[in-house]
């Protein structure tokens, strides 16, 4: 049971392994997981290791547990609406709820999310708030007065409380069964939300009375999932933008280098001095420190680059908060001639000679679309770029232009010959950094 979980979550670029399952099991034993919503939250706590993981996690979770695949660029709402799971759920929901069928799609998705993300905490809240509920909610009762006789609110709440005691083993077993059934495509109307015991509403209790448990719990979650950009999957192959800049940052961190310096080791000095009967000789120990030397050359001329300049700056600014002194940013327009500019408006500059005087251990990131009129890529320009690449062995070019257009642009082809070129995407950056790390600055 669940043994395929790590593998399928790993496919989404998440860290999941046997430890994930062990922690999950322990959480179950401690009674932390009683609903599908609990399972979602617990797994998120275990698997998600950064905001950039939340998107892929949502994607993996919906795919694995709910069979709702989310394609790149698709919103969660859209994915839900198109899924088989939702269609089945909807039929039954409307059936059981005896609702008017003119519920908007938005309402339905919201109700669906309420159920999927309902946690046992929400249920407890409702149960403990029961008295308040009874007192405060005459309207709701009036509205559905026909139904209240056979299904009083109290009983429904009891049911919810009972539900929270449902054993998780049971829950998962059923889920697994349904998974298999769905795989073989003759599920024959038995589906998991609702009758499967996963729905906190049991057989159409709550909905009949118009109680929305999600008022504070599930509903909040639903809104969050739909409205929050963090919940949308981060596509590692998407071009750098505000949403995936964190993922890119994670990839680019690989450029930090470690080295060691010698330092007087006071404790050892004293200890050995005492052993020598008071003769103190300095003892040295080596201390590691991190080094990051980067020069970023950004093409900020022309409209083609405008959308990316901001994201690129943001990416490197984030790095700069930690490595204030070793990061230099210069600007150029289309290609590099005899100078690069210090400021964005390109009013102050340094000459190429000066740029070449930087220590050769600097890493160079060219960032530009490398699209220009062929004559702009003059012999002088080529020579200078070659000089940079020759001096700084760890140079790469990050290009925001979609990969498929590269072969059609002459200047990209030409530039690619001089500087190793990668797409300006989190994955591209990752590859660029890996490429850099294989090169030595010597020679």
């Amino acid at each position: 049971m669940l043994s395929s979980l790590p593998e399928s979550f790993r496919k989404h670029g998440l860290q999941a392994d046997i430890r994930t399952l062990l922690i999950l099991r322990k959480a179950m034993q401690k009674g932390l997981i009683k609903t599908l919503g609990d399972l979602h939250n617990a797994l998120r706590g275990i698997i998600v290791k950064g905001p950039e993981d939340i998107g892929p996690f949502t994607k993996a979770y919906y795919e694995y547990f709910l069979h709702i695949p989310i394609t790149p660029g698709q919103t969660l709402e859209d994915a839900i609406l198109r899924s088989e799971t939702f269609k089945q759920w909807k039929t039954q929901y409307i059936d059981e709820a005896d609702k008017d069928t003119d519920l908007t799609e938005e309402d339905l998705v919201s109700a669906f999310l309420d159920q999927v993300h309902l946690t046992s905490y929400d249920i407890k809240e409702v149960v403990s708030g029961k008295e308040i509920w009874d007192k405060d909610n005459p309207d709701q009762v009036d509205e559905d007065s026909k139904e209240t006789d056979d299904q009083p609110a109290e009983r429904m709440l009891d049911k919810m409380a009972d539900y929270s005691d449902l054993s998780l083993e049971e829950l998962l077993e059923r889920m697994e069964k349904v998974r298999n059934q769905q795989r073989t495509k003759h599920s024959g109307g038995s589906h998991w939300i609702g009758t499967g015991g996963i729905s906190p509403y049991g057989h159409g209790g709550a909905a009949k009375n118009g109680i929305r448990v999600g008022g504070q719990g599930g509903g909040r979650m639903a809104r969050k999932v739909i409205g929050d950009k963090n919940y949308f999957p981060v596509d590692k192959d998407a071009l750098l933008n505000d949403n995936n800049v964190d993922a890119a940052l994670a990839s680019i961190k690989g450029v930090i280098e470690e080295s060691a310096i010698e330092k007087l080791d006071i404790p050892t000095t004293i200890k050995s001095g005492l052993k020598r009967g008071g003769l103190f000789l300095p003892e040295l120990s080596s201390e590691k420190y991190e080094e990051l030397k980067i020069i970023v050359l950004i093409d900020n001329g022309g409209y083609s680059m405008a959308p990316y300049v901001k994201s690129v700056q943001q990416l490197f600014r984030k790095m700069k908060t930690r490595f204030a002194h070793d990061l230099e940013v210069f600007y150029f327009h289309n290609t590099i001639y005899d100078r690069v500019w210090i400021d964005e408006r390109r009013s102050k500059y340094i000459s190429i000679e000066k740029l070449l005087m930087y220590n050769k251990s600097y890493r160079i990131f060219f960032i530009g679309d490398s699209a220009m009129a062929p004559y702009e890529l003059s012999a002088l320009s080529i020579q200078n770029i070659q000089a940079i690449v020759k001096k700084f062995k760890k140079s790469v070019w990050l290009n925001p232009e979609p990969l498929k257009y590269w072969s059609g642009t002459y200047t990209i082809q030409a530039m690619k010959q001089i500087v190793p070129m990668f797409p300006l995407t989190p994955r591209g950056i990752e590859r660029a950094v890996r490429e850099m790390n294989t090169k030595s600055t010597e020679g």
Binding site: N41, R44, G45, P51, I54, I270, E290, T321
Partner: protein
């Protein structure tokens, strides 16, 4: 038995239900809770208010660029040990010469190594069952620190340097460990793997309203509303350093001494905005984008 009842925040502290669940889960599993998020989302506040609300002992370890696991767990004070050993020798010499007066080593005895062990927050909280341990801003630490910590945290047992004394805690009595990070550097995967992770998103307007209510309960509703409009508008400008919870609380505190009507006027006139904007570049930007056009009347647009 450890305190593992579900905690949902206190009078002063509004705990997001998601965060409360993550915290509960971490404590039930005896694992550290790693909280990340923008500055000003109340990462550090959680353990502080939790400890206060439940009357538990709180140990805080503020992480810095020089942090190491010795400071965190325990270190041996070599310098003091040297001093005291020298004093012993000196005293012996003085005695030989017939001098009565002795130099003091405090209550420490160089024979007993445990006297020279300086316990850090980790060792202290592990020796107090059911306490709360806050490791603040772990992203400021040198890279090896989280990995060293990992070993310390997963073994529930510390061996004190030199003295060999063992500080041990059972799984039931594990302190509630909360680790915060501003994400200035990526933490090692192995480290994160041993924590329950929670990312705090910046509070939405309605939640922020509740937070303000908790801190300044007497504040006029309309003042809060107008203040929030301005605040979230500023946050959307994409400033270098967007204003955070702390700043709006300070700003509104300043406004709370003023009659509501005047306060609203002052807020709309962006008075005392220095409380929200922290850099010169941002200030210029705000002036350029809002001040100059004089079109900022959030309640009317």
């Amino acid at each position: 038995m450890a305190e593992t009842k579900h905690w949902k925040g206190s009078e002063k502290y509004l705990c997001d239900p998601d965060l409360a669940q993550a915290f509960h889960m971490a404590r039930s599993l005896g694992m550290p809770l790693l909280i990340e998020g923008e500055p000003g989302t109340g990462k550090t506040e959680l353990p502080i208010h939790y400890a206060k609300d439940r009357g538990l002992d709180l140990e805080v370890y503020p992480v810095g660029s020089k942090s190491n696991v010795e400071q965190f767990v325990a270190r041996f004070d070599h310098v003091k040990y040297l001093r005291d050993s020298q004093i012993e020798i000196l005293n012996a010499q003085r005695e030989e010469k017939g001098l009565e007066s002795k130099l003091s080593t405090g209550d420490r005895n160089p024979e007993s190594l445990a006297d020279y062990v300086v316990k850090g927050p980790a060792a202290i909280s592990y020796s107090k069952p059911n306490s709360v341990l806050l490791i603040d801003e772990i992203d400021k630490a040198p890279r090896e620190f989280p990995n060293d910590l990992l070993y310390a945290l997963s073994h529930r047992k510390f061996i004190m340097p030199e003295s060999g004394e063992i500080v041990e805690v059972s799984e039931e009595d594990m302190p509630a460990i909360v680790i915060t990070s501003n994400r200035e550097q990526e933490l090692p995967t192995a480290f994160k793997g041993r924590c329950i992770y929670h990312y705090i998103h910046f509070p939405e307007k309605d939640v922020m309203g509740k937070i303000i209510e908790k801190h300044h309960p007497g504040l006029d509703e309309k003042v809060v509303k107008v203040g929030l409009d301005v605040f979230y508008h500023l946050r959307r400008l994409g400033l270098e350093r967007a204003p955070t919870t702390r700043e709006i609380l300070n700003w509104l505190k300043y406004m709370s001494d003023i009659a509501p009507k005047d306060a609203i006027e002052k807020i709309e006139g962006l008075e005392g905005i220095g409380a929200l904007i922290k850099t010169q570049a941002d200030m210029e930007r705000v002036n350029r984008m809002i001040g100059a056009g004089d079109n900022f009347r959030p309640s009317h647009n």
